[in-house]
């Protein structure tokens, strides 16, 4: 897939919580084909401490409106600057980068998309895409408390949404892997993105029920295009770049102790 450098226009910056914003961006040129799981390298302007671009997942794409969504969690100054963008300003991005989540061959396969924290970002576009292809989609979203469950109404549009919160303020109390759904149902495919301990717990569950499991990693990156070799993860094939061989990995390819 060809990569492009685009100046996107900020249409809206919607504050979701103290820590999260939704950026709705429009492309002056027709957006190229972008697959669920892929990401963009976003240039951060006006930060005195942010030197490199920041990798941000594709949260959603509306091809009719030529719009692209980013879900941003404020972590440091780079993401803070992104959270302060105003409508009408430009954002320079390189995209689409990385590989993508796979689509099951059997359209009757039962699927579960598990996200925690900002890791829910790529799952919206994945869910929308899978639904359009005729799959029944189940989302399991985890957060600290109800206020951190982001964009629930958007996920509702593409599938069944199950929720866990650590304080029990929404859905079931506890971590995603403790949700009763995991005991009552069986799944053929599990897609997950979020904090590493969560993804490892999900991978262990997937291994137990013999489901195919794909995880999306968030290693720190410099180039994002396979040129610098800074972003590697250890795999059965040695060190591989998360920005080109990933960010999505079938769990059998990683050397996780699960």
């Amino acid at each position: 897939m060809s990569k492009f450098i685009l100046d996107l226009i900020v249409i809206e910056n919607r504050k979701l919580t103290d820590q999260y914003v939704l950026l709705i961006l429009k492309s002056p040129e027709k957006l190229p084909e972008i697959l669920p799981g892929q990401f963009a390298q976003v240039r951060v302007d006006g930060s005195s401490t942010t030197f490199l671009r920041r990798p941000i997942s594709i949260h959603y794409i509306d091809y009719e409106k030529n719009e692209l969504w980013f879900l941003i969690q404020v972590i440091g100054d780079g993401t803070y600057r992104l959270s302060q963008l105003k409508a009408g300003e430009f954002l320079n991005v390189i995209l689409p980068l990385g590989n993508h989540f796979s689509v099951p061959k059997d359209y009757k396969a039962s699927l579960l998309l598990i996200g925690g924290g900002c890791g829910v970002a790529p799952l919206l576009y994945l869910g929308a895409n899978l639904k359009r292809r005729g799959f029944e989609v189940n989302f399991l979203l985890g957060a600290r408390s109800a206020t951190d469950i982001l964009q629930k109404s958007e996920y509702d549009r593409y599938g069944n949404v199950y929720i866990t919160t650590e304080d029990g303020s929404m859905g079931e109390r506890g971590f995603v892997t403790a949700h009763s759904l995991l005991k009552s149902s069986n799944f053929d495919y599990i897609y997950t993105c979020g904090p590493t301990p969560m993804m490892k717990a999900v991978a262990a569950y997937a291994a137990k029920i013999k489901a195919i499991c794909e995880v999306s990693l968030e290693n720190t990156m410099a180039c994002g295009i396979g040129a610098c070799l800074c972003c590697v993860t250890d795999s059965t094939e040695g060190h591989v770049c998360v920005c080109t061989e990933g960010p999505v990995f079938n769990i059998t390819k990683l050397k996780w102790q699960i």
């Binding site: 450098i5 005195s48 720190t220 410099a222 295009i225 610098c228 070799l229 800074c230 590697v232």
Partner: protein, 304 residues
């Protein structure tokens, strides 16, 4: 349009802008963004005799004006390069130069010998300055006898243009430069990264798996510029300047200090099209100042 041609030994450059090893992959990674034939040359990833896995993650730390890396020369080895990568890049219409590294003198020689036979590789860059490997690498570039030995041996084994990349992690870079010139190098390139360190105060841990790594980017530019200036006054062979170049003005400064050509490294990560912008920017500078040829500005610093 001014004449942008520059020669480095037998190496003919259509312009002085080249990309630095380890920051530009094998060139093809950037083919979606720029016309690779517009730049003077591509220094490909550090290549060693055997495959190397490099250092464990994390290998990168950011600073406000640069970055540290501790990649540790991850590559699939010279045979893989010759069989699988060379065929895919040999027809790019620019100079493809292989950056060669090793842990022993014999490894450098063996790798260089294998590259001799490649018709479309007009030069190698001997990396005696990598701070990120345990054995060899920088050890060769920080001691005059060791630098002399490796350059002498490789010079015997390698027929085409031999560029030697110098380490800034020395007290006096001109000593090493002179030794390298005496042993038959056709050119020197400088600088490689500066040995540096980054700490995460919250976790009280080093950020890099190797604790220390190599600093690059605009933070190092004034040091690189000073070293190019010093070396330009110590050797007669051409100098390729690099370290922190972010725009055409930076590149011109290196040439004024004495570099015949330049490499752009870390800046490629922020703007993958920066190399062709440098070509245009240098050209614009030359016409604005009435220079007919880019060689007119090499070492043209006015210190009157």
């Amino acid at each position: 349009m001014a004449n942008l041609n520059i020669n480095i030994g037998n190496l003919q450059l259509k312009n002085p802008v080249m990309t630095a090893s380890g920051t530009f992959g094998y060139g093809i990674e950037y083919a979606d963004f720029i016309d690779l034939s517009r730049i003077g040359g591509i220094f490909v990833k550090g290549t060693t005799i055997h495959e190397r896995q490099g250092n464990p993650y994390p290998r990168m730390a950011e600073t406000p004006s640069g970055m540290l890396n501790a990649v540790g020369l991850q590559n699939k080895g010279v045979d893989y390069f010759i069989e699988h990568i060379y065929p895919a890049i040999k027809d790019i219409d620019t100079n493809i130069i292989v950056n060669v590294s090793g842990s022993t003198v014999d490894e450098y020689i063996e790798t260089a010998e294998k590259l001799n036979s490649l018709e479309k590789i007009p030069a190698i860059e001997l990396n005696i300055s990598c701070p990120n490997i345990k054995e060899g690498g920088m050890a060769f570039g920080t001691s005059c006898p060791a630098a002399a030995q490796v350059v002498k041996q490789v010079r015997r084994a390698y027929k085409n243009t031999l560029i030697v990349k110098l380490s800034p992690n020395v007290t006096d870079i001109t000593e090493i430069a002179r030794v390298v010139e005496n042993e038959g190098a056709d050119a020197v390139s400088l600088i490689n990264t500066l040995l540096a360190m980054a700490i995460n105060a919250e976790s009280r841990k080093p950020i890099l798996s190797t604790i220390t790594g190599g600093l690059s980017g605009p933070a190092v530019k004034p040091i690189a510029l000073r070293m190019v200036w010093q070396v330009a006054h110590s050797v007669r062979i051409p100098i390729i300047g690099l370290g922190g170049i972010m725009n055409a003005t930076d590149a011109i400064e290196f040439m004024l200090a004495g570099a015949s050509a330049i490499q752009i490294g870390t800046a490629n990560f922020i703007d993958p099209t920066i190399s062709v912008k440098l070509v245009d920017g240098i050209n614009e500078y030359l016409s604005r100042h009435g220079f007919k040829s880019v060689s007119d500005i090499v070492g043209a610093l006015d210190i009157s």
